[in-house]
């Protein structure tokens, strides 16, 4: 059962091959057995069984939708009413959210069953899931390696088939990079496509929620439920949501694929480069045309990101002050002491680094040189992409410079860690949609292929990615012990 896709499980439930209760119990057992992966922060066993029962009633009445009764995991960044929502941090270790994120509401309404809250890098800041207050998550392909981050728990859970699908969030690559490291499919939609209400903010103009699944088809099913205008989110875009499954099967003959010259410069591991080349060959066989494009300002993505994201997060995290919720230090002497010690004791080092950089970048005398400059370069990067899209339909390239690295390998040098996102970050700066799909293995570790689409062109993106999954089977592979 656990090795079936969401689409298959939905059919199985509809045909009464099994019930949601059985399915849910099955996954819950697997989760318990796979405890050592540390993918979950909270397992909502009781609630899951209640939801499964309710789902079964809908199924029996033939009132089931594509996600009714399907067990999923929610990244612990989404507020879930009356359920602990930690965001991977000691600061929110005692936080039981009093409301549901819009994304959570939508899955509830779609009848999905929530198995629990998935581990993540603290406040979504990280590329390896090693900054979590709850300890690192292990990559199911090799437990000495990281699953990637910040949606490491989500990626691991899907790869180890502990959930049928999971939600993640992506600010600089946090869906795509772990998807690549864990050999699964991960989609970051266009900025504004999915509501951010109830999604704990890291960098408001970059954050976006998306599905992490075994297949592209499943990602389309989940995106269908997640996408849509939300009046509670001012940055949510009021654009109609198309039927994402409708054009999955479309022929891609004549598709123009752009290959970013700058992506194949130094820094990319040879084996990863080879796998990406092989994937491109598959696309040639499917009738696509590949052309080289240049995005000259792309190399500045990392510096730009490491000004904008910390600046926005430094303000977004000011609300964690020990006054109305969350961690408060013991016996504060006075107000300042309460602030300083509560925040000092409850935030991890990476979070502190980013708050400090962000505060610095916004401070008097530095605002123009750092923050404004970064926003200007951001526009140049976006313009580069816009120009490229007047020439090609989609852009392809690697997701990560290498396969999953070892736990503890990059923790001593934060900047080295930052470079894991070198291929993914520019996409967030521009607000474009992008997907990571499994494209092979190097040294028994998964390698991902990244496909970047134009604004609100998720349908085309999913179509192009799906066609690859029809002629390859990387996405069907999973670590042996989790089969």
């Amino acid at each position: 059962m656990h090795n079936k896709t969401i689409a298959e499980l939905a059919r199985g439930l509809r045909d009464r091959e099994y019930s949601s209760v059985e399915l849910t119990q099955h996954f819950l057992n697997r989760i318990k057995q796979a405890n050592s992966l540390n993918a979950f922060v909270t397992i909502t066993e009781e609630q899951a069984m209640i939801e499964a029962k309710a789902a079964d009633e809908q199924i029996v009445k033939s009132q089931a939708g594509p996600l009714t009764g399907i067990p999923i995991g929610q990244k612990d960044i989404f507020c879930t009413k009356d359920v602990k929502t930690s965001c991977g941090s000691k600061m929110l270790d005692n936080f039981i959210s009093p409301y549901n994120a819009t994304v959570v509401e939508k899955f509830d309404q779609a009848g999905a069953v929530m198995l629990g809250k998935l581990n993540m890098d603290e406040f979504a800041m990280g590329s390896s899931n090693e900054t979590s207050f709850y300890g690192p998550v292990k990559n199911p392909w090799d437990i000495s390696k990281v699953p990637g981050g910040s949606s490491g728990g989500s990626a691991t859970a899907v790869a180890a088939r502990l959930v049928a699908g999971a939600t993640g969030t992506d600010t600089g690559g946090s869906i795509r990079q772990p998807a690549a490291f864990c050999g699964i499919t991960g989609l970051k939609p266009t900025y504004g496509r999915v509501s951010r209400y109830g999604m704990i903010a890291f960098a408001s103009s970059l954050d976006q929620a998306g599905p992490m699944t075994q297949t592209v088809e499943d990602a389309a099913i989940m995106l269908q439920a997640m996408a849509g205008f939300d009046p509670k989110d001012s940055t949510s875009v009021d654009q109609p949501v198309p039927d994402y499954l409708e054009v999955l099967e479309k022929d891609i003959k004549g598709l123009k694929i752009g290959l970013i010259k700058e992506f194949f410069a130094e820094g990319l591991d040879d084996e990863c480069a080879k796998k990406v080349e092989a994937a491109l060959d598959e696309y040639r066989k499917l009738g696509a045309e590949i052309k080289e494009i240049s995005l000259p300002n792309l190399k500045l993505s990392i510096p730009v990101y490491y000004v904008i994201a910390p600046a926005e997060c430094s303000a977004n995290l000011s609300r964690y002050d020990g006054v109305r919720f969350g961690y408060r230090c013991e016996d504060p002497k006075d107000l300042n002491d309460m602030y300083i010690r509560s925040r000092g004791e409850a935030f991890g080092a990476e979070v502190k680094r980013r708050i400090l950089i962000g505060t610095y970048a916004l401070s008097a005398g530095y605002y123009d040189a750092y923050y404004i400059k970064a926003q200007k370069v951001r526009r140049l990067i976006s313009e580069d992409f816009k120009k490229a899209f007047s020439d090609v339909d989609v852009i392809m390239g690697p997701v990560t410079p290498s396969t999953a690295f070892g736990i503890g390998e990059k923790t001593s040098d934060p900047i080295e860690m930052y470079f894991s996102d070198m291929y993914t970050i520019a996409v967030n700066l521009a607000g474009l949609p992008a997907i990571s799909i499994p494209a092979g293995f190097s040294d028994n570790k998964p390698v991902g292929l990244q496909i970047i689409g134009n604004y609100f062109a998720e349908s085309q993106l999913l179509n192009v990615a799906h066609q690859y999954q029809k002629v390859t089977d990387w996405h069907q592979q999973l670590p042996e012990q989790f089969a």
Binding site: P98, I200, A201, S234, A311, R319, Y367
Partner: protein, 476 residues
């Protein structure tokens, strides 16, 4: 050394919206603590702001009323600092691109008109309240007020005396209430004033160092605080000292300003555009719509009253002091079918007198405009005399009856029947030969006696005009 005072005022007016600027919680005053603070107001993880349409409208209305530029494109910015009554650790305000630009307000001090510039007005959210007493050395935080929309109105440093500052503040206070964008209740904190005060030697171009006096909540205190501050600064400068740029508080009990002892140096607010909000676009069509709906402003109304109702400055000012007063008066005029003069004298005289005595506002007047109009109508058409009308007015004040009902019930109709009056006059003349003798011999005062007698005989109902005319005729 002659000193010149330079004053600029920053006024925070709470906009009279039903819900908060960025959330759907109520803005009603006086609710139990934290019962009007929703998830967005409390700054819970993951919540997001959405802008209140009415707050934008009200800001535009204000801007148009002071003939200011309305920014077609304005941006909300985060003002970052830590304080327990500021839940998110930043206030959503406007910095580089405010919604309202340069405008002006005309004031009058001692009959001299002056134009005071308004630099800008912008939208922002209010913070909560801190209660420092009663919690055993702790401070209690009430976030009901957090998120209430504020319009921060910044004046140019154009005022040169406390009197001018008070005049500006009063004018602004009247304007925002006229426009119905703020209830102006200073006790409840709906209208708050910060004064920036500095002095410089007369003739000097550069401004002196200023001190900011925060949160003054009455016209009287503004005047006193500024006067004290000016004295204080001159004193320091004349003794060779320097003015420290700082924030001060006015202590009403001691009538002095005090420095707010702060551990930190000037705050670095690290303003940057709020990424959770998009730029506010004010379309030309909205501006036209609002322009068309803009109520007649106090200045224009006062001038019109002077022209239309032949009123002098003082009377027109009094009757246009508030929208309610002006509307009441005009409703009376519309319904009373008589000379405006009569309405004016009754509204400013009898009615206001009664309201003042009982401590009521015009909007609480026991006699509605239409009812008063009915009374004035009967004076104008001679049904009753002015004197009798006063009696009727008393009756109307106590109950709900209109003038006609009371006149009928008490039989107060004026006697205008010349025949009847003549008969009474003849009788009184006949009955009082001695007085007739006196009058004819030149004692003019005795005329009053006869008038009195006629009035007594008719229970005051005889038309005084007729009585006078006839008596004069008969006593020749």
């Amino acid at each position: 050394m002659e000193w010149e005072t330079v004053i600029g005022l920053e006024i925070h007016a709470q906009l009279a919206t039903k819900s908060k600027i960025f959330s759907g919680a109520s803005t009603a005053y006086g609710a139990p603590p934290n019962t009007q603070a929703c998830a967005v107001d409390l700054g819970f993880p993951g919540v997001l702001p959405v802008l209140n349409k009415q707050a934008v409208r009200m800001a535009v209305i204000f801007g148009m009323a002071i003939e200011a530029e309305i920014a077609p494109y304005s941006v909300f910015a985060r003002k970052n600092y830590f304080y327990p009554d500021l839940p998110k650790g930043y206030q959503i305000s406007q910095f580089e691109l405010p919604i309202v630009g340069n405008g002006h307000l005309d004031i009058q001090v001692d009959d001299i008109s002056k134009c005071i510039g308004v630099t800008r007005a912008h939208l922002e959210e209010d913070a909560g309240k801190s209660l420092h007493e009663g919690f055993h050395g702790l401070t209690g935080i009430d976030l009901n007020r957090a998120g209430t929309p504020l319009l921060e109105i910044v004046s140019e440093p154009d005022m040169r005396s406390a009197k001018e500052a008070v005049a500006y503040m009063k004018k602004l206070h009247e304007l925002v209430r006229y426009l119905k964008i703020c209830d102006g209740n200073m006790q409840e904190g709906s209208f708050r004033c910060d004064a920036n005060v500095s002095v410089r030697p007369k003739g000097q171009q550069e401004f002196g160092t200023r001190a900011e006096i925060k949160n003054i909540n009455s016209f009287k205190f503004v005047e006193k605080a500024i006067n004290f501050e000016v004295e204080r600064q001159i004193d320091i400068l004349e003794n060779g000292g320097q003015i420290v740029q700082e924030t001060r508080l006015y202590d009403a009990d001691k009538d002095e300003t005090r420095s707010m002892r702060s551990k930190e140096e000037a705050n670095d607010y690290r303003y940057f555009p709020d990424p959770d909000l998009l730029p506010v676009i004010v379309e030309e069509s909205l501006k036209q719509e609002i322009k068309a709906e803009l109520p007649e402003l106090p200045e224009a109304k006062k001038q019109r009253f002077k022209d239309q109702y032949q009123q002098d400055e003082e009377t027109a000012s009094q009757l246009t002091a508030t929208m309610e007063m002006a509307d009441y008066y005009e409703l009376v005029v519309k319904n009373a079918n008589c000379e405006a003069k009569l309405c004016t004298s009754w509204v400013t005289g009898t009615l206001l007198g009664a309201l003042n005595k009982t401590g009521l506002e015009i909007s609480d007047s026991p006699i509605e405009a239409e009812r008063l109009a009915g009374l004035l109508q009967r004076i104008a058409d001679n049904t009753i005399s002015g004197k009798i009308a006063k009696q009727v007015f008393e009756e109307m004040w106590q109950g709900k009856a209109n003038a006609d009902e009371i006149i009928e019930a008490k039989g107060l109709k004026q006697i205008t029947d010349t025949g009847a009056i003549e008969a009474i006059i003849d009788k009184i003349i006949a009955d009082n030969p001695a007085q007739v003798e006196q009058y004819l011999s030149g004692k003019d005062k005795v005329f009053g006696f006869f008038v009195g007698q006629v009035m007594k005989a008719t229970q005051g109902k005889a038309n005084p005009g007729e009585v006078n005319k006839m008596l004069k005729d008969k006593l020749k």
